[in-house]
């Protein structure tokens, strides 16, 4: 674009930049405060006047976080074996070494987000393609249902969901958090938007060549909607990571906690240890930020393409 910028526009842009930088600082602040707070000694944490930079860098908060609670690093259990045991608990086949529970919580959180991500991507890609390209009866109603359910907060169905989960014997099990996340139909909606852009002729010619439906799907559809899958993956990962509510409702035992839940139980009777809280926050935020920064480009590309289509 050729640019003939008038002084007025220049001034406007300058002011905008100043405001933007201020806003950026505000958006950066929580992360800055979490990271520095995680390394601040008690005196800085409890100081009435804000301490902008740790007076000394200490690992004390992380030590508190790691030493307060312990748990086997991982466990492999036989599902439903609880009916045969006297204790009413599943038989543990294999148990990892005892480690600080925070590590277990981190593993749980990652497992939860990754499992939700993979399941969502698979189911939503199939369904999105069908909704966009298959002219089966009832798809209009189905799509309407999906659109209406998309904005539904999970609190609306909290009680039936809890009852159902306990009926399925999944209460206090990480899958209880994963399945409802996968059920949330936003992914289907997103993948439908993507699949719309696949030219019908290509599908048609593949069919004429005698490819099976599944073959057409894997060789033609999936490569074409790949950016969408990437975007959906990151989107679901973040979403599931942040879904405090389901975790709060479904998980009750130390070994099954996610990081935010676990950190909450480390608080004392009447106290809030900000240092420990910040250490926990740093621990839970850093992996996801790293994931985000690595896949940032992919992500940006992905979400855009789906949306720009009407």
């Amino acid at each position: 674009m050729n640019k003939i910028t008038s002084p007025r526009t220049k001034a406007y842009r300058f002011i905008c930049t100043i405001i933007l930088i201020l806003l950026a600082l505000m958006f950066l602040f929580p992360l800055y405060w979490i990271v520095t707070g995680a390394f601040k000694p008690g005196a800085d944490i409890w100081s009435v006047k804000p301490v902008w930079w740790p007076s000394e860098w200490t690992m004390q908060n992380f030590e508190n976080l790691l030493n307060k609670r312990s748990s086997p690093l991982f466990e492999i259990t036989i599902p439903f074996s609880r009916y045969f045991t006297e204790s009413g608990k599943n038989i543990v086949l294999f148990q990892g070494p005892t480690a600080p529970a925070a590590y277990r919580w981190l593993i749980n959180t990652v497992f939860m987000a990754v499992a939700a991500m993979i399941l969502t991507c698979i189911t939503a890609t199939f369904a999105g393609y069908a909704l966009a390209k298959k002219r089966f009866r009832g798809r209009g109603i189905l799509f309407g249902l999906i659109v209406c359910a998309m904005a539904l907060p999970k609190q609306v169905i909290l009680i039936p969901l809890l009852k159902e989960i306990s009926f399925l014997e999944l209460y206090d099990n990480i899958w209880a958090v994963i399945f409802p996340t996968v059920g949330w139909p936003f992914g289907v909606f997103l993948m439908k938007q993507f699949s719309e852009s696949i030219p019908g002729e290509i599908l048609e010619s593949s069919r004429i060549d005698g490819a099976s439906e599944l073959k057409t799907f894997t060789t033609i559809v999936v490569p074409m909607v790949k950016p969408g899958i990437g975007a959906l993956a990151i989107f679901t990962f973040i979403n599931s990571w942040n879904d405090y509510f389901l975790q709060l409702l479904m998980l009750t035992s130390n070994a099954n906690f996610t990081l935010p839940l676990g950190i909450a139980t480390l608080q004392g009777e009447t106290s809030v240890d900000m240092g420990l809280l910040m250490a926990g926050a740093a621990l839970s935020a850093l992996p996801i930020i790293i994931v985000f920064l690595i896949f940032q480009k992919y992500f940006t590309k992905g979400i855009t393409m789906g949306a720009v289509k009407g």
């Binding site: 005196a43 439903f80 009750t252 035992s253 480390l266 009447t270 106290s271 240890d273």
Partner: protein, 435 residues
């Protein structure tokens, strides 16, 4: 999707197994070898290292393995409720009668453990604690272990600076209403800002605000029979309006008890209304030195102010209750647990872990009066114990009443008419009290 199919298949297959197991469990009540305990952070009962020690001692003696889960006061209640809804409640729970008796017990989730109390136990336990753990139906839903009196605390250095120490009886840890307001004024004149907060963001630590308001002019919270709430007592109205009028006292809807303690610990507030011996020993659970704020100021615990100086303090009682999971073997094991920690030579360990006072002087011949003999702070604190007042927290509708109380304080704090607001919210509480 594969998972769902598998699960469905398994559910079908196992429903048959389940019926088999149900038959198998019917005969004999050999105590189970594994039970679960959920505990709130009561002193070091929220500390894994301490609890593990207690549990391994218990396992060594009885062969029963206890899996412990730690609750917090923010979400703990919700967790218990959602677990109960899902039918996955724990076997044992540690908390106070206001939850165990007035709520879960009254709603039929708890096992009546009156068979654990023989005549000696009944004689040894402080009557008020046993009474608090007994439901109006006569069933006992909690075995009390420890207790304390809730009090308040002041920042001695700040009082010194404001020349307000003259208003305190530091020897007996008491003061009068008149002196309390004088001290608040003096502190406000010196520091020019809020020095004490009537916190009301939620129910956390609300025993402090109740005790403050009731004691100032001798108002009551419930009637003597614990059947109805009586906050509209004109003496309470007077107390609230004087607190509202006082410079330096804020009704703060952004703080709960724990937040208030943190602010006091930081040195921002000069008084804390949510305090007891556990805080005195380890202020703000920050593992700093005892009786000191973050800035190194001295903390003095005080009785709540009243016209005569003789206040009636709110008691805190903690103990164990058993959830009825319909499994006799696990209930039997849980009872064994309670016997072990509440009424045996091991009771001293349970008491020490909790950082509070024992509910009895002897347990099965073991003397408990000396548990804290070597602790000067604990000994000094016993000066407050005679002021222990009525344990009214077991009045029906207690949980609803707590909610109504902090909501009322929020509204009044924002300038709503005191009498009308109290009447409105007290009516809600009384509706719950009427069942």
């Amino acid at each position: 999707m594969k998972h769902t199919k598998k699960i469905l298949a398994l559910v079908l297959a196992l429903s048959m197994v389940f019926t088999l197991c149900a038959f198998a469990q019917a005969d004999g009540v050999e105590p189970a070898k594994e039970i679960t305990l959920w505990t709130y952070p009561i002193g070091n009962w929220g500390n894994e290292a301490t609890v593990n020690e207690l549990m391994s001692a218990f396992e060594a003696d009885t062969g029963i393995h206890v899996t412990v889960e730690y609750l917090d006061y923010t979400n703990g209640d919700d967790k218990v409720n959602s677990a109960l809804t899902a039918g996955e409640g724990p076997d044992l729970i540690m908390e106070g009668p206001e939850r165990l008796v007035a709520n879960w017990g009254a709603n039929g989730y708890m096992v009546d453990i009156s068979d654990l109390f023989d005549d000696t136990d009944k004689a040894e336990l402080i009557p008020a604690t046993l009474a608090a753990c007994t439901h109006t139906s006569g069933a006992i839903y909690e075995y009390p272990v420890v207790m304390t009196a809730h009090c308040m605390a002041i920042n001695k250095n700040a009082f010194e600076q404001a020349d307000a120490l003259q208003y305190l009886d530091l020897e007996n840890h008491t003061w009068t209403t008149e002196n309390f307001f004088k001290a608040v004024q003096a502190l406000y004149d010196t520091f020019g800002d809020t020095v004490a907060a009537v916190f009301c963001a939620g129910q956390g630590g609300d025993q402090g605000t109740r005790a403050l308001i009731n004691n100032l002019y001798g108002g009551t919270f419930t009637n003597a029979e614990h059947t109805a709430y009586t906050w509209d007592d004109p003496k309470n109205v007077q107390a609230i309006s004087e607190l509202l009028a006082a410079d330096g006292i804020a009704f703060d809807a952004s703080l709960q008890g724990g937040d208030e303690i943190a602010k006091f610990y930081q040195g921002v507030l000069k008084m804390a209304f949510c305090w007891n011996i556990a805080q005195q020993l380890n202020p703000n659970t920050a593992n700093g030195p005892a009786e000191k704020t973050a800035t190194g100021d001295d903390i003095v615990f005080m009785s709540f102010p009243s016209e005569t100086g003789e206040s009636s303090l709110q008691g805190g009682i903690w103990g164990f209750g058993i959830f009825d999971n319909g499994d006799e073997a696990r209930i039997a094991a849980a009872k064994q647990f309670i016997k072990y920690f509440c009424d045996s030579e091991h009771t001293a360990d349970a008491v020490k872990a909790a950082n509070y006072f024992a509910c009895r002087d002897t347990a099965e011949g073991t003397d408990l009066s000396g548990v804290w003999a070597d602790n000067a702070i604990m000994n000094e604190y016993t000066k407050l114990m005679p002021y222990l007042g009525d344990y009214y927290q077991v009045t029906t509708g207690w949980a609803a009443c707590r909610t109504a109380w902090w909501n009322m304080l929020q509204k009044v704090g924002e300038g709503a008419d005191i009498e009308a607001t109290i009447a409105e919210y007290m009516a809600q509480a009384n509706e719950a009290a009427a069942g």
